[in-house]
Subunit: 647 residues, 2 copies
């Protein structure tokens, strides 16, 4: 049977194949299907649709779905909630790549018949006619069944038609579980209605949705201050990072750094002779986006670093920053890829009145845009060939959205294991837009959300709206650009609180070097920039300096790995706390319920009565239950909904 | 310039014309554009879209729209809220029929240039290059301008390029209001991006969204009990109904009533010889859906009744009930249009265990469905030719949704002034579905919403969700099928409260004969059916019987006509009331603010402190203001937000 496509009739002519049922409001769908929903490999995708038709018939529906590269549709059954006219089914996405699904529905003729028969029997009405209709359906199913199934359906049909046999017996025999199963399996739908569209689900590997990131400048890892670090130096950090429990080591740009208008320490407009410059001023005579800064070492040494990280169970993420220093080879080879002034010179980056003379932006709509876009794609392909699978994309909101949609779509079709993190700190609509059109993860406003209501508000938006379908937050607690005043003024307790928030509110989070040492000196009061920022100079550190929070980091990363509830994002429920200084929430996974309470006040202890969701946990109102403090291992017995917490 | 269509690139090839901007989340749109939004003639349609692009440019957008039958698109400007990346524009729909609209956006190059220039001037930066860019834009605009405009743009361009002239003077001259207006008018967009889809708005006449309905059985209007009323009798009621302030007189089916299995008084399975039967058992040997019951009179007399109603400022609404009595001519002429039993007989209507032997349902998916569907359309066309423009559709949820979508679409293309009221009391998804696919108005659950929280909940759903775009409620306070226990037990105060609720909560409302007399005797305790229901017998009434609420009805209908705030639906805001027995709300229109308080307790007076939305009314917290009781004409001075009300 060919499914009938639903669609609106046009003109006054009769529709050729009017849809028998209405299928509406399918989920998960982003913006009516314009963008795919996102899932992780192994997830069950729960599909819901409103399905209805006229009259009082029962309805059946199924989900059609297929994995990446599959030609044949697979089918998943649904359950039907009549009061809501809603069908729900699910399928497991067991491979990465783009899956497709749709919904088909039809009249559950046999179910409707059974329900009507039961009502008539209860009302002691005449059912001879119903039994005869049932016999017709059993025969239709029987003709498509084989072997014993066929035989028993045909025999039962004959019994239903046998007016000499006792009516009650025939009615009972027709609705046994065996018969129902046989009929469901073989009775063809008469009015199969298809939605006419299908929807995409992009399925990523586990690391796209769960991982601890560490941002490190390899050039700062030299054994002595002011000696430019090498790949070998950087590799020395790998055992430490692995022991702390990190999964991803993210490196700012590793390419040759421009010399023209190079910036000096603390963003000085003129660099000293030994200043290494900002690594985001990419390219000089030694190469561009596919070269490695010679002071770090060779490409082969970089590849060895990637392998060493893998040996420690970690992945390397590279920075993908589509901008050039004025010394980048492209400036000479393709001056038309840049913005050219009337005098023939090339424009610097600017967002008036700010100017960055060490950087020239690319002109993504230049006449030769196709070649430029392809060249940008080649950069990624180059590093993919060298074993890199994760890219942190610098300022994607300053490049065309259509470019990203093409680039990410095209790359991920070839390499569905690629992960792209959007570093866009911009207005909400644009951050959402980048996530919709293909970024795997996104930086967020997390660093600027520090009070109880700010965090509740923001996390509610991220987890409870349609954003949960496509926007995967990466909660960096600090970055080279963002040292929030909460950390500046709050000291070590603030760093610990933010660590716990980042590690438990979001399955993907990150810290940037120095967070573990509670580094918190801004370049000046009121600024979020670090003093002596590593963006413009080398910085060596003693990783075991007093006051470090290494132990906390290792503990939190261990707890995250042990508790599935911390490995998914939208499974979050805020709990009532009677003190705004303490934020409390519940993370849930099967057999894994965590109650988390964080003292947001960096200056003094806070206490509250925490409202435990006893009903959700399957507890009685006054039942005692055991809780374990995962940080200390201590166990307590709590009772009922309100319990005391002091932090 | 051809607009670039936005769309997703496919394959690894570069997109041919990648969209420069993203246009997203357009409103008003129902289910992603699958169904039209609804508006009334004269309304301003406010269009919103999220529009963004990369970088820091300002954005401009316009709404493209066209009325029914228009070929050329018209354009409406929008305002741009940068923080929300949102553009908002509006157009007035001044004719009934289907309008279409879409959104186009482009970079506001001149605006961006002006903003950058101002920032540079403020930061005392070099602006010579900016002035030269400005000159280029002025020339581009000048080439498309004519006459003085062209001259002044060209002269100003020359000045901007004149490096000998003072910089500050040139910067100021470039951004005067005159220049900005000229440039906006003539500078062509370089990156015009169109959404690629357009959306429908169905525009109805005023009566579709504002009107008072009265349901009347013409056969009961005979001067004496048990004399079948005629059209002349029914016409006698018109002056009374006009004086009460009604706009629509809705008549249950007026066609010949079937004789086979005719129902008797109080739904008796066997009719007495004088019983007139249910008018919903349509058709006998004297005709079907296009005939008039001979006892009422002739078709010509019916047409005269329609004219008489019009002369009283009222319209006649007919019942469109697609079902037949077993005596309907179609049963003989087209037995294949019905459900046929194995023995060749035709099936009665049933919803097990209920059976209605006086009615046979139509088989909308019979082999000859096209002819049946066309015949159904012919019925409407027949009555349209006789002056009827409003149809109350009986149980539309028992006929295919695809049938309605075709029927209503096809009829309204020819007659956009038609109004169809869906009488579906069914599950929410199906009621919403009927409204989406074309019904002008819908019956609601209003009769079953009697407490404060029920009403707040239901009205919030109707006015604050997407339903407000397509679902127009008709708040019938009673029907021949629904006499709610609130009325049965509450007596006259309950009828008055429900009248005030219906008339003020919904611009479209109705009552069925007898409501004005507070008729409230159920057929039996616990039933919502009337005793001696007019569905099965004639009922004559004394319209001035003691205890009537005629004066209240006339008053409420007059107030509704005088106050625009009561003529629209979604302009509703509930007010805090400190007593659940009193429901309070605010209806707003320009220069027309009504505060409405209704005592829901039919048995005793209630008092409350009413919370007036002083801020919304433009009042200070403690400012005194004058309120007028529209029912009594009394005036009071209230002060601040909390004011005492006793009802």
């Amino acid at each position: 049977m060919t499914p009938v496509r639903s669609g609106r009739p046009t003109g006054d002519r009769l529709p050729t194949e009017p849809p028998r049922l209405v299928i509406d409001r399918v989920e998960p769908v982003v913006d009516g299907g314009r963008y795919p929903a996102k899932r992780l490999v192994g997830d069950a995708v729960t599909v819901r649709a409103i399905v209805y038709k006229d009259g009082h018939d029962l309805i059946a529906a199924r989900v059609r779905y297929r994995g990446p590269g599959e030609r044949r549709w697979r089918l998943a059954a649904t359950t039907y909630e009549r009061d809501f006219d809603r069908c729900t089914g699910s399928f497991v996405v067991d491979r990465i790549g783009t899956w497709r699904f749709s919904v088909e529905a039809w009249t559950d003729r046999f179910g409707t018949w059974r329900a009507d028969l039961a009502k008539r029997v209860a009302a002691r009405q005449e059912i001879e006619e119903n039994l005869s209709e049932g016999a017709t359906m059993l025969r239709a199913a029987g003709r498509r069944a084989r072997g014993d199934g066929r035989t028993s359906l045909m025999e039962l049909a004959a019994l239903l038609d046998d007016t000499d046999a006792p009516v009650a017996d025939r009615a009972e025999r027709a609705v046994t579980a065996d018969v129902v199963a046989l009929v469901l399996a073989h009775l063809p739908p008469e009015d199969l209605t298809s939605l006419g569209t299908d929807f995409e689900v992009v399925v990523d590997r586990e690391r796209a949705g769960f991982g601890a990131w560490y941002e490190m400048f390899p050039r700062s890892q030299g054994a002595k201050a002011d000696r430019h670090g090498t790949w070998a130096d950087a590799a020395q950090q790998l055992p430490r990072l692995a022991a702390l429990g990190f999964d991803v080591v993210y490196l700012p740009p590793i390419h040759p750094v421009g010399r023209t208008n190079r910036k000096g320490r603390n963003n000085a407009l003129v660099a000293g002779p030994a200043d290494p410059g900002s690594p985001w001023a990419i390219g000089n005579s030694q190469g561009g986006h596919t070269a490695v800064e010679p002071a770090l070492g060779t490409l082969a040494e970089f590849e060895a670093f990637v392998v060493a990280a893998r040996d420690h169970g970690m992945e390397v993420a590279l920075d993908y920053a589509l901008q050039c220093s004025p010394d980048h080879p492209w400036v000479r080879e393709h001056p038309d890829w840049f913005f050219i002034r009337a005098d023939g010179s090339i424009k610097y980056a600017e967002n008036p009145p700010k100017q960055c003379a060490d950087i020239v932006p690319l002109h993504f709509w230049c006449d030769d845009w196709q070649a430029l876009w392809r060249a940008c794609r080649e950069i990624v392909a180059f590093w993919v060939e060298r074993g890199v699978r994760i890219f942190r994309v610098d300022n994607p909101h300053t490049k065309p959205f259509a470019f990203w949609e093409w680039l990410l779509g095209s790359l991920r079709r070839e390499h569905p294991d690629l992960i792209f993190l959007a570093e866009a700190f911009t207005r909400p609509a644009r951050m959402r837009g980048l996530a919709k059109l293909g970024f795997t993860q996104s930086y967020t406003y997390f660093t600027w959300r520090n009070t109880s209501w700010e965090l509740r508000d923001y996390l509610t938006e991220l987890t409870q709206t349609s954003m949960a379908e496509y926007f995967r937050p990466n909660f960096f607690a600090n970055t080279p650009d963002i040292l929030h005043e909460y950390l500046q003024h709050g000291g070590r307790p603030a760093f610990r609180a933010r660590l716990v928030l980042a590690t438990t509110l979001s399955p993907v989070y990150g810290i940037y070097s120095g967070f573990e040492l509670c580094e918190r000196t801004p370049v000046r009061a009121g600024s979020e920039e670090y003093r002596d920022s590593e963006k413009y100079q080398l910085r060596t550190r003693r990783w075991d300096a007093p006051g470090n929070i290494n132990a906390d980091i290792a503990t939190m990363n261990r707890i995250r790995r042990e508790h599935p509830a911390l490995q998914r994002f939208a499974n979050l429920e805020f709990l009532a706390s009677e003190n705004d200084g303490i934020l409390a929430y519940h993370k849930h996974a099967p057999d894994n319920d965590l109650l988390i309470a964080v003292n947001l006040d960096a200056h003094r202890p806070q206490a509250t009565m925490l409202h435990v969701p006893v009903a959700a946990l399957g507890l009685d109102e006054d039942e005692p239950f055991r809780v374990e403090d995962l940080l200390t291992g201590s166990q307590y017995v709590w009772r009922g909904a309100r319990n005391y917490v002091r932090l």
